[in-house]
Amino acid sequence: MEPSASAHNAGDAASPDAAPDVHHKIGQLTRQLHDALQELGLAEKLQGTAGELPDAKSRLSYIARLTGEAAEKVLNRVDQAKTQHDHIGAQTRHMIALLVADPVAAVAKGHIMNFLTDLEKANSEVDQHLTEIMMAQDFHDLTGQVIARVVNLATVIEDQLVELLIQTAPPELQSRVSPPASAAAPLSVDDVVLSGPVVDASQSTDVVTSQSQVDDLLASLGF
């Protein structure tokens, strides 16, 4: 199709009479693209990649869920620790007042001992909150592995589209571009043997979903 003809036809598309012609041309283009993909052997390859996209979507959902849960966990623990911190602050001020008023009575009536016991308990609980806040940061590792897989998939798609673009370019342009280094042997998500975090355990039966299942499996093997 010549550029001038294309522009002319695009102008015709505005009128109702031109609609069947535009439809016919879209059909022709679709057929040409389909045939070209078949001839190039790329249709199946792209189809395979497209099949990976739902998995990529579930992986991204997994990242959103994990980061959301981590944020929620940290905020909850901070809230609890701050409440305990405020309580200890109030208790401390009360104890100072008792000691200033009557130090002997504060000791004799057990106020000091009760306060120290409370303090020790609160200290232990705050330490647990801090440990849980630290543990919540493990999302960085888990989501990082999943992100790496999604990036890998994006690279595969990009390589295949570049390859398609080069192979469908006019001959005079083809001589001016060389295929990308990775186009000769496109990356495949299958290249990675390890599967990383399980983003949806309900979709597979060959994975464990808890540490007790790991222990049971190892015990069944005699380990």
Binding site: M135, D138, H140, L194, S195, L217
Partner: protein, 128 residues
């Protein structure tokens, strides 16, 4: 052994810090770290360690390869290796056990799980 020395191997610095902090809270403060199997092997061969806590999915040399290298090295094969990983496939767990891993923990895990496994393995190895 009163104070076993740990090597924590993981490509994510966050996870290395978490594991080291948890070990410290459990009373095991003597720990070094490595970002992959290659660095881990170098450190294991250059210094003395009593326990390895290793991820599996790492660049350069993964946890399975590290485990295999440790188990075929006469000077290192006695060191218990605890796998701590996001790999939850049963075949990976079985493979780790067959290759000589002392234990297997799936991420995410709790402080209690890590502590229990480490103490159990240390006792089994006569190190505690």
């Amino acid at each position: 052994m009163a104070n076993p020395r740990f090597l924590v191997v993981d490509d994510f610095s966050t996870m290395r810090r978490i594991v080291r902090n948890l070990l410290k809270e459990s009373g095991f403060a003597d720990a070094d770290e490595a970002e992959d199997g290659v660095v881990a092997l170098q450190k294991l061969r250059a210094s003395n360690f009593d326990f390895v806590v290793s991820d599996i999915n790492m660049p350069n040399m993964n946890g399975f390869q590290l485990l295999a290298e440790i188990k075929k090295d006469e000077k290192l094969k006695h060191i218990p290796v605890l796998m701590v990983t996001a790999e939850a496939r049963k075949e990976d767990i079985v493979l780790a056990a067959q290759q000589g891993a002392a234990g297997y923990i799936v991420k995410p895990f709790t402080k209690a799980t890590l502590e229990d496994k480490v103490i159990h393995i240390l006792k089994k190895a006569g190190l505690a």
